[in-house]
Symmetry: C2
Subunit: 74 residues, 2 copies
């Protein structure tokens, strides 16, 4: 198994999240509303600007109705 840098990981995670969000037909705003977090955060997470929490990742998976492991599968 090869490991990437932390910043690259955040970007990869964000891209993956964006993929699943669109796949499930959510806009950033809808996702943020369902999550109960700020819409600007979704944009930041998807671009890899911020290093969000595991709890947030879990809640996102919950809203998207996917397994959290899928968010880390890339």
């Amino acid at each position: 198994m090869e490991y990437i840098e932390n910043s690259a990981f955040l970007i990869a995670f964000g891209k993956n999240l964006r993929k699943y969000r669109k796949l499930k037909g959510f806009t950033q705003e809808q996702l943020a509303n369902d999550l109960g977090i700020e819409i600007s955060q979704i944009s930041r997470i998807e671009r890899g600007v911020i290093n969000t929490s595991i709890g947030n990742a879990y809640t996102i998976a919950k809203v998207l109705k996917i397994d959290i492991k899928e968010l880390f599968d890339f």
Copy 2:
């Protein structure tokens, strides 16, 4: 798929991390040193006291030489 509460998720994550840490023969201190983070944080994460970042989870997986998905597999 059934989803648990956020606080329960953090506790489950911590227990799982502890399982893998011991499985790989690390003390909290060794893991913290290899990670380059504070030992007190490991204790807090394992007990579900804090909601650590996805980047931290990734680095932990890297040090333990496991796939990050395993940390979320419970």
